[in-house]
Amino acid sequence: MEKILIINGSPRAKKSNSKQYGELLASYAQLESETVVITKRNHAEICQKITEYEHVVFVFPLYADSIPATLLQFLIVWEQHLTAQTSRPYFHAIVNCGFIEAMQNDVCIEMLQFFCQKNKLEMGSVLSIGSGEAILGTPFKVFVQWKIRQFARSLTQHRFKKYEITMPLTKKMYIKASTQYWINYGKRNGVTQAEMATMTIE
């Protein structure tokens, strides 16, 4: 039976939304799965582990419009480990961005496709999530669960596909909701909206 290695590429690692997306995937996957978190010191260990799996799923947030440096660093190391003899798993990804438009992940996904092509890896399924910072804390979480179920099934059935999900809100409603989300975030740290909105840098 095939197995899935879920690789959390979020710099926030254990406190990340990517962790939660990965946990949902593990719970819906009909295949056996294991999860690892990329750290500064375990790149070689993960490269070795990947050879035991048929599927790898990278779960990570969009950073500055593309792959976060934490994951980029790992991909560069992995590329060096991918010799002609190395077994190649299917490469899947769950990418989330904080903005409501899931399409803001598209260039990042193209970069992953380029990585796969360069290294003779087969790109499998992709789930592109918009409003990924907040959606899990809203009633719209069920939509994400639904998409991750479909994503998980596509791995088992080898029917690879690109999925997309975001909050079904107008942009105006999204901005209002996100403003409140960040005000509450600051409040928990004792920081006011006006302080958060400072125009001075450093």
Binding site: P68, A69, L72, V107, M111, Y185, M196, A197, T198
Partner: protein
């Protein structure tokens, strides 16, 4: 204010010019962003990691003309430049606004920029096309009023940068 931000050493010396800076990222110690949102919600506009990045992002913020010089990696910036750009988020607020109908963060005191991105390395057409699309996305998030992308080889890099800097001096 003008800035050349590079991931490799270049024969530039702006010490006699008060309005220009040259930063070689290769000489700096810059850790990766840990995604803590501290610069938005705990110490607004200040990164909680007090390394060399804290000297760089205020200069990025106040520059009206920037030249970014970076090797490419999978159609994006290579690690040194990518790490720095991620660490520059204290220049933005957590709050979201619409730019050309798309959601993006509100900028703090960051003037619009004329940006030139010089990407070097052994770059195929497909990688060029991806990078151009990436820079177009960056334009929204990094306050570029105009942007030009130049692709070159590592061997030609110095010549290309010096031409761009000379064009700055004439303008």
């Amino acid at each position: 204010m003008k800035l050349v931000l590079s991931d490799t050493a270049l024969p530039l010396d702006f010490s006699q010019q008060a309005d220009a800076s040259y930063i070689n990222l290769d000489e700096l110690k810059i850790a990766t962003c840990i995604g803590c949102f501290g610069c938005w919600t705990k110490t607004p506009s200040k990164c909680v990691i007090r390394d060399d990045a804290t000297k760089v992002y205020p200069i990025i913020a106040k520059s009206e003309h920037v030249i970014y010089v970076s090797k490419l990696q999978y159609g994006g910036y290579d690690l040194p430049m990518k790490t720095m750009l991620e660490r520059a988020i204290p220049t933005q607020q957590a709050f979201i606004r619409l730019v050309d109908g798309e959601a993006h963060h509100v900028q703090r005191n960051v003037p619009l920029k004329a940006a030139t991105i010089i990407a070097y390395g052994n770059i195929c057409q497909q990688e060029q096309a991806i990078f151009e699309r990436l820079v177009a996305r960056n334009a929204h998030n990094m306050n570029f009023a105009s942007v030009r992308v130049i692709f070159t080889s590592e061997a030609q890099l110095e010549t290309v940068v010096m031409e761009e800097v000379a064009a700055w001096k004439k303008s």
